[in-house]
Symmetry: C2
Subunit: 374 residues, 2 copies
């Protein structure tokens, strides 16, 4: 793998006006590649240690390796930026940051089972691949159930490995001790947020505030806020910086989730790598769907309710549902909510005393995380 | 809760001939109660932190609390004995040892989903309770799928909390640093062993050695050997002691799994708290079933194969299968294997220089773990 390296000291020595969009793009790419290299090595070593001797070892190893390659590495980038808010560039901190991709891979692989999503990043989901493998072995059990069970176990391994990679990152015991409380909160919120998410259902619409709160817990906090706070805690940032990053992270995370909700209904599958009808078919109470119901006039509301009541939605019904949702003005309103959160997030950084590179990178990411097509 | 406390120094000051069966029984009970108290407090605090605000919080909290109460506490007792092999009594070490029950609860709650077991410890399994709750909410989704997904997430929480409780046990950073490699191995083997177990199937019988190896990885190591090694590593035991405990643990763990396999076919549900036909219905390639096939004469083999080929087994067919298995001599042979392993395990402790209390307790547990009705 080609390594993109910035000249030494790029981050630490940044001065006002010196940070270009190109610098940030190159830096992001370098973080991504260094994280990918660290993750690839870590997963390869663990597979050699544990997976080698079991049936299906090649497929299991391939699925574990690919679960941490090809993503956007949003969480590792935010974790590393949290670190850079209080300390200098560090390979150990980068490995610690990269570990968040293992945690994310755990969440995705188990989510896909729970949401019955068959596609991930444009390829069949892990549980689908495992079920196909089982069926090809000519074993007599239920291949679908095997695929789901095996994918859950792969997720468990990734959850364990995430913590191991953080612990073995090379950061000092003092740095890690500062990080664990944030890390425990991140993992606890993730599982409990997902649990709450399973209960909400578009046919029993919870209020918009509940939907936003669930999104914050399940996704926003875990994508932006907690990774930033984790990095900042590891680096020993002062409370002022941690509070500013927390505010920024809360707002960007919420905007990130709102964008995800829009993509879940209106995204282009060829770009997102997953079907765009999932949230509608599963009757998920996302922000888009909940807000549409709140904004709908009586006629729209009746038709929305009728479509939400369908156990299975055909393609024409999905198209009609999208049209109805857009017609309520919900999409425009969500776009406004995203924009205002991203702007407020950037404002909240002004007085934190961050260096110019970190400030510029966080502003860049506030836009990227919220104004994206995948 | 009544606390059973031994006179201070019972363990440390034990002298040859002074340790009675009563001492050990009281000590076991005291470990159990202290571990239960520590676990109860830890889970209560975590539920207050995370679970309070979500739908179904009362049920989720109840399931999490009951998942670590009422078990045999085999793993915490072995972990604590590992500690006592190299250090004195310690509340912090006891909390560290107790954390293994959270890990076990994680494994059971997810196993029950994967094995489709509806009963655990004489009560409906967590996924069944969660499905019932969902159905009672009158939500329109698939209650069974919700129950399974929610139980998986409860398992994830328990997996995270196990590590957190160990880390926050109060043991020194040096002690924990010695323990993590064993802990990582324990968790990795557990998940990968369970994965291998899903693939083996009584209709494609793997060789007995493969079945024993899977049992070692999935259950034996994780029940006896690794807990002992973890405790010994935390206490800083020398390599001689760790090797002796490893040999003992490997043998007792294997005997424990063999007993489990016998109980899975012949156990009394009123005592084990779960149906005794599960392994047969699921066509699991356990030691009992594999050995029966190896020992069967041609007529028995044909009838075994015919019954194993059934997708669903009726009660009379289950009874016939039990009769056939016993008729091959497999039960007698497995009993011999259990007995010889327990004896060899006790022998392997002779030269480890353990104090008399620990030695007596380990000998007592070798018998209890392998000669039990539940």
């Amino acid at each position: 793998m080609r390594m993109v390296e910035l000249p030494a000291g790029t981050v630490d020595a940044a001065r006002p006006g010196q940070v270009t969009a190109d610098d940030i793009a190159r830096w992001r790419e370098s973080v991504r590649e260094r994280a990918a290299t660290a993750l690839g090595g870590f997963v390869r070593d663990r597979c050699a240690e544990y997976v080698r001797a079991i049936p299906g070892a090649d497929l299991v190893s391939e699925l574990l390796a690919s679960s941490v390659s090809g993503g956007k590495y949003v969480r590792s980038t935010f974790t590393y930026l949290g670190w850079l808010s209080g300390a200098g560039e560090s390979d150990a901190a980068l490995r610690a940051a990269a570990s968040s991709e293992l945690l994310h891979a755990f969440a995705l692989i188990q989510d896909d089972v729970m949401d019955r999503s068959s596609m991930r990043r444009g390829r069949p989901a892990a549980h689908v691949r495992l079920a196909e493998w089982y069926a090809a072995q000519n074993l007599a059990g239920d291949a679908g159930h095997f695929g789901e069970s095996a994918a859950i176990l792969l997720g468990d391994l990734l959850l364990v490995w995430a913590e191991q990679m953080l612990r073995e990152s090379g950061l000092s015991a003092e740095a890690l001790a500062r990080g664990w409380p944030v890390y425990d909160k991140l993992r606890g919120e993730l599982a409990v947020g997902q649990l709450a998410d399973l209960v909400y259902d578009a046919r029993h619409l919870p209020p918009m505030e509940t939907v936003l709160e669930t999104g914050r817990r399940k996704s926003g906090n875990y994508t932006v806020r907690r990774p930033l706070e984790l990095g900042a805690a590891l680096a020993g940032c002062d409370l002022n910086v941690r509070a500013a990053l927390g505010r920024y992270g809360g707002l960007v995370g919420e905007a990130f989730q709102l964008r995800d909700d829009l993509l879940g209904v209106f995204g282009r599958p060829s770009v997102t790598g997953k079907p765009n009808g999932g949230d509608l078919r599963e009757h998920k109470a996302t922000s888009v769907i909940t807000l549409a119901a709140e904004l709908a006039g009586p006629g729209q509301r009746a038709e929305l309710a009728r479509l939400h009541a369908r156990a299975r939605l055909s393609e024409p019904e999905l198209a009609r549902l999208r049209e109805l949702i857009a017609g309520t003005g919900a999409v425009r309103r969500i776009e406004q909510m995203i924009g205002s959160r991203a702007a407020a997030a950037c404002d909240s950084l002004s007085d934190a005393g961050l260096n110019d590179f970190v400030l510029a990178a966080l502003r860049d990411l506030a836009v990227r995380a919220t104004d994206r097509a995948r």
